[in-house]
Amino acid sequence: MRKKRGDRLFYGLVIGAAAYTLLMVGLVAFSVTRGSVDIFSAEGISFVFQSNWNAVEGREAFGAFPYIIGTLLSSAIAMAIGVPISLAIAIFISEIAPPRIGIPLSFITELLAAVPSIIYGLWALFVFRFWVRDLIEKPLYDAFHGSIPFFAKTPFGLDIFTAGIVLAIMIIPIISSICREVMRVVPDSQREAAYSLGATRWETVRMAVFPYIKSGLVGAAMLGLGRAVGETILVTMIIGNVIGPGAIPTSFFSQGQTLASLVANEFNEASSDLHLSALIALGAILLVLTMGINIVARLLVKKKIKISSGAKSQ
């Protein structure tokens, strides 16, 4: 009899823990909705498209638009730099390097993933931004600031461009390790088929490996995107922290602001309930954005791994 009660207790515990997961999701949805209700009832959907950010009492007006742009732009830069590099690293570790080089290398990329973003931020703020400013931004500015509007402003190193680069460094371990995982699923018989036709190694990767797992690679990239979009503390340290209509970036070297970084910046000094609600609403927008990206990404990666293991067993 006692055994049965113990069993039921255990079963209750595991079910409870599983239910707690759902509860957490509910809490997230609840708190974000409850918190942003005030601003949305005050401004409606125009909150999403406005650019003002005025916390002065009596003249409050808040708009999320510049920060949506900032989030998208910094993430786009991160992806443009990060995805090709991640793919190249994945190809190197998975297809080119012998195991005695590949294994330590993948360990090193895992280490990169384990560095807390606050330390990335510290390093970016005090060290890396000078590299970027002097080695990349100044030359680009000197060369193009007259001709291409995107390189117009005088670069200081604390801007959207630097934020994008450091975000890229941060998401490379994530994207490349998932790429590697998906590449591992491609059966060797496919590679052999390509080699036996006289393909070079790159051609084999292009012809036999990539098409097999195309959606998995896209999913990996999107997971990286999800991480870049949601990154807070790193961005807030190096993106320049501007607010209002001036926060809409006009050049790579503009200061900017993302949804996450503004919330981090102003949360503790929010002057009114409406201000707080606006900040939480920024979080809500970010939440929707991230969830969408991550759901699609996981579906793509899971599908690829499932299909491929099914095909393998044929």
């Binding site: 599983a18 239910a19 190809i91 290398l105 090193i108 560095v115 807390p116 949601g230 996450a260 991230t290």
Partner: protein, 302 residues
């Protein structure tokens, strides 16, 4: 060179010519891709090296007994330390782990051992995946609205709950994956002996998955130890030592952020020192795991 005797055209010759024409180009492209891949690998390693170098170089000089145990002196003075932050990190992360690890493991056990294909099980799995991708700032908002507003003050408790929301999905996933690897025959053996499912799980399955799950927990703890955003809106970050679960407290990531934003060299030096301490603490945790897991090999992917 022979050609097919039954073909009208000399395809062999045509192919041969095409091959020769393109051969050089293909070889060059292959070489370029290989070089690009190597350059990218080096480009990825350089930041890691630089980060570690800078943290050690700049942080080591700041570390002293005073630094580790005292609260910060007046701003810009360069005296004092980050004692409260170290204490706060240990307390908040510790509390979060006490909540997060058991819940995560139990939920993972549910998904692996007890779940049947149903709406409940599928939604648990689905939403768990969703939770792993949530931005940490949003989790901070949750902690704020649910706990800080409810209790009325920034608190250790709010911080711990927030961090546990980050930790649990990681532990759930690792637990489920590790348990799945345990061969089914072990469970069958238990069933055939008439042992209850609970006992099978606890006494047979779990021990053999112990190492993998432990690794997963340590990875999750390392992750939340470095989280800053959720703490901004839940524990506030004071310069005082721990006063109670419902009171505010400091933590290393938060302290680093504050120090970095101050315009004083001494504050920056403290920031680097705190970063070094944080990394060392996380490292110590992982190495501690090596000792625990030295018996069997394990492989975990997050």
């Amino acid at each position: 060179m022979t050609s097919y005797s039954n073909s009208n055209k000399n395809y062999s010759k045509i192919l041969h010519e095409t091959v020769n024409k393109n051969y050089k180009k293909r070889m060059i492209i292959n070489k370029l891709v290989t070089i690009f891949a190597i350059v990218c690998v080096i480009a990825a390693i350089i930041p890691l090296g630089s980060i570690l170098l800078e943290v050690v170089k700049n942080g080591a000089s700041a570390i002293s007994l005073e630094f580790l145990t005292q609260p910060q002196g007046s701003i810009g003075s360069g005296r004092g330390g980050v004692g409260p932050a170290i204490q706060g990190t240990i307390i908040v992360v510790g509390l979060a782990s006490l909540i997060g690890a058991p819940v995560g493991v139990l939920a993972g056990i549910y998904l692996s051992e007890f779940a049947k294909e149903g709406v409940f099980a599928n939604s648990v799995r689905f939403f768990n995946d969703v939770l792993t991708g949530l931005p940490s700032i949003v989790i901070g908002i949750v902690g704020y609205v649910i706990i800080v507003l409810a209790i009325g003050s920034f608190s250790v408790f709010a911080g711990a709950i927030s961090l546990s929301i980050i930790m649990i999905p990681i532990v759930v996933r690792v637990t489920e994956e590790t348990l799945k690897i345990v061969p089914f025959s072990l469970r069958e053996a238990g069933h055939s002996l008439g042992i209850s499912k609970a006992k099978i799980t606890l006494s047979i399955v779990l021990p053999s998955a112990k190492n993998g799950i432990l690794t997963g927990i340590v990875i999750a703890i390392s992750r939340i130890a470095g989280e800053t955003a959720p703490l901004i809106m839940t524990i506030l970050g004071t310069s005082l030592f721990f006063t109670g679960i419902t009171g505010p407290v400091d933590a290393l990531p938060l302290r680093i952020w504050r120090l970095a934003s101050q315009p004083y060299e001494s504050a920056h030096a403290f920031g680097w020192g705190s970063a070094l301490v944080l990394i060392l603490m996380i490292l110590a945790l992982s190495i501690g795991l090596r000792f625990l897991a030295q018996r069997r090999s394990f492989k975990v992917t997050i």
